[in-house]
């Protein structure tokens, strides 16, 4: 049995899960904002990707991101396993009150798994995908734009992508309000606004990424 300290306690694990989640929320919007260069055009997007990946600090950022992501996944698994064993005999009949659980909160583990699978495929398809080169204003760089456009030529990939980012939107909409609650902020008048902000964040992520996928499909 592990000693009971902050990192093994229920609240500690929750708070670190929330904190890594917050980091990932920040990454998600930055990533989306960067991807909006796809709307501008091939050169703009390639140049953006080149600037980002040619900065040596990218390795530090990537390491941090991977660390946060793995910690988030591992803690979620630990908590889920503990929660599962906290009720060894399940109810024969259990209905929701309708005043508590939401679709987003109830599907956190499922949407989480979808996102995990999605991210692995996403990295394989794009980051570690085909390596074309292009020349923008005299600089030789990777033609990531072409990789993206070619990928989204397939309507099935577009559909899977939209499905996965909707799962991401749902997951993050619960995540935003959870971060506040778990870190001890719950206020009579602000908390309802935080919940709304969470839903708006989720919608922004889902619609933002989906619109990119659909836009790219029609660039073919």
């Amino acid at each position: 049995m592990l000693a009971h300290n902050y990192f093994t306690s229920s609240i500690g694990k929750k708070q670190i899960l929330a904190l890594t989640g917050l980091g990932l929320l920040g990454f998600t919007v930055t990533h989306l904002a960067g991807n909006f260069f796809l709307f501008v055009g091939a050169d703009a997007f390639n140049k953006y990707a080149y600037t980002l990946t040619s900065n040596p600090l990218i390795y530090v950022a990537e390491a941090g991101l991977i660390g946060m992501f793995l910690l988030h996944v591992v803690l979620a698994l630990v908590l889920k396993t503990e929660n599962h064993s906290a009720r060894p005999v399940k109810y024969y009949n259990k209905t929701r009150t309708g005043r508590g659980e939401t679709i987003a909160s109830a599907t956190m583990p499922i949407t989480g798994v979808i996102i995990l699978v999605f991210i692995i495929l996403h990295l394989l398809n794009f980051k570690f995908g085909a390596h074309y080169t292009t020349n923008v204003a005299g600089t030789e760089m990777r033609d990531l734009y072409r990789v993206v456009i070619e990928y989204f030529a397939n309507p099935l990939y577009v559909a899977w992508y939209c499905f996965a980012v909707c799962a991401l939107g749902l997951h993050t909409s619960h995540g935003v309000q959870s971060v506040f609650q778990t870190w001890g902020f719950n206020h009579k008048s602000y908390t309802p606004h935080i919940k709304t902000a969470g839903v708006l964040y989720g919608l922004f992520v889902a619609i933002g990424f989906s619109s990119l996928a659909i836009f790219c499909h029609f660039q073919n």
Partner: protein, 255 residues
């Protein structure tokens, strides 16, 4: 009374379990002539009389005050802790909430930390252990202090009183998809942490009560708010947020 008394015929599906070791099963009962004016527990009393008359073992269930203040009566009624009504304990639930020929499923609380002792009665001593590990204040006894000697803001007094309405029934654990006891524990922490008398030991308290809560095998809160929704006393989720905050501060200070 606006509603006329009616008599209901019900089909009951009740969890029967001989003892802690027995694996238990559901049994179906037919109960006729249940007054809509009777409480849910009176309905079970009526069923038990029928069972005794048939020479069968009556159903064991916890109850005491029957006026919604002791928190003994605890059962899952048609999949909801304390039944379908908002902020109502089982003993305060009336049969007028049901319709003639309804099937009513009655189960005990389900959680590793609440083992079933017999039928609908569960062992909730894990809650007592959480309280014993810090849910009190240490004071020197003697004459009662003058009223208002310690100033307390109206806002904090209200919040502390709200938290103190927790009757420890365990509906929060029962309804939580994770069988977490955080609403209970946080209410017991909050009622003291909000008052100057409770501040003295606040850091040690939160640290040791959370430790006991974890050791007793409850699950971890994932912010579904099913506990708040099914709490017969309307204990608010903001108590859990307060506990989370108190906990991190107590850990920073090495308590």
């Amino acid at each position: 009374m606006s509603q006329q008394e009616q008599l209901l015929n019900l089909n009951l599906k009740v969890w029967r379990q001989k003892n802690r070791k027995d694996s238990g099963h559901f049994e179906d009962y037919r109960l006729e002539g249940v007054s809509t004016d009777s409480s849910f527990l009176e309905m079970i009393d009526q069923l038990n009389e029928q069972l005794v008359a048939e020479n069968k073992d009556p159903i064991t269930f916890d109850h005491d005050c029957r006026e919604g203040i002791c928190g003994s009566c605890s059962m899952m009624i048609n999949g909801q802790a304390h039944g379908p009504e908002k902020q109502t304990t089982t003993c305060q639930l009336h049969m007028r909430s049901f319709k003639n020929e309804d099937t009513v499923v009655i189960e005990p609380w389900r959680a590793r930390a609440f083992p079933v002792m017999k039928d609908l009665m569960v062992d909730r001593s894990s809650f007592d252990k959480i309280i014993q590990s810090g849910g009190f204040i240490s004071v020197n006894t003697g004459n009662a202090q003058d009223a208002n000697a310690i100033p307390v803001s109206k806002e904090n007094a209200d919040l502390a009183m709200d938290a103190a309405t927790c009757i420890g029934c365990g509906a929060c654990v029962a309804s939580c998809p994770n069988a977490s006891a955080m609403l209970f524990t946080s209410a017991k922490i909050s009622q003291l942490a909000l008052l100057p008398q409770g501040r003295v030991e606040a850091e040690e308290r939160v640290s040791s009560m959370v430790k006991t809560m974890d050791e007793e095998g409850f699950g971890n809160c994932t912010n579904h708010a099913e506990c708040e929704a099914s709490c017969p006393k309307g204990i608010n989720l903001s108590n859990i947020a307060r506990m989370n905050k108190e906990y991190i501060f107590s850990k920073i200070k090495g308590k």
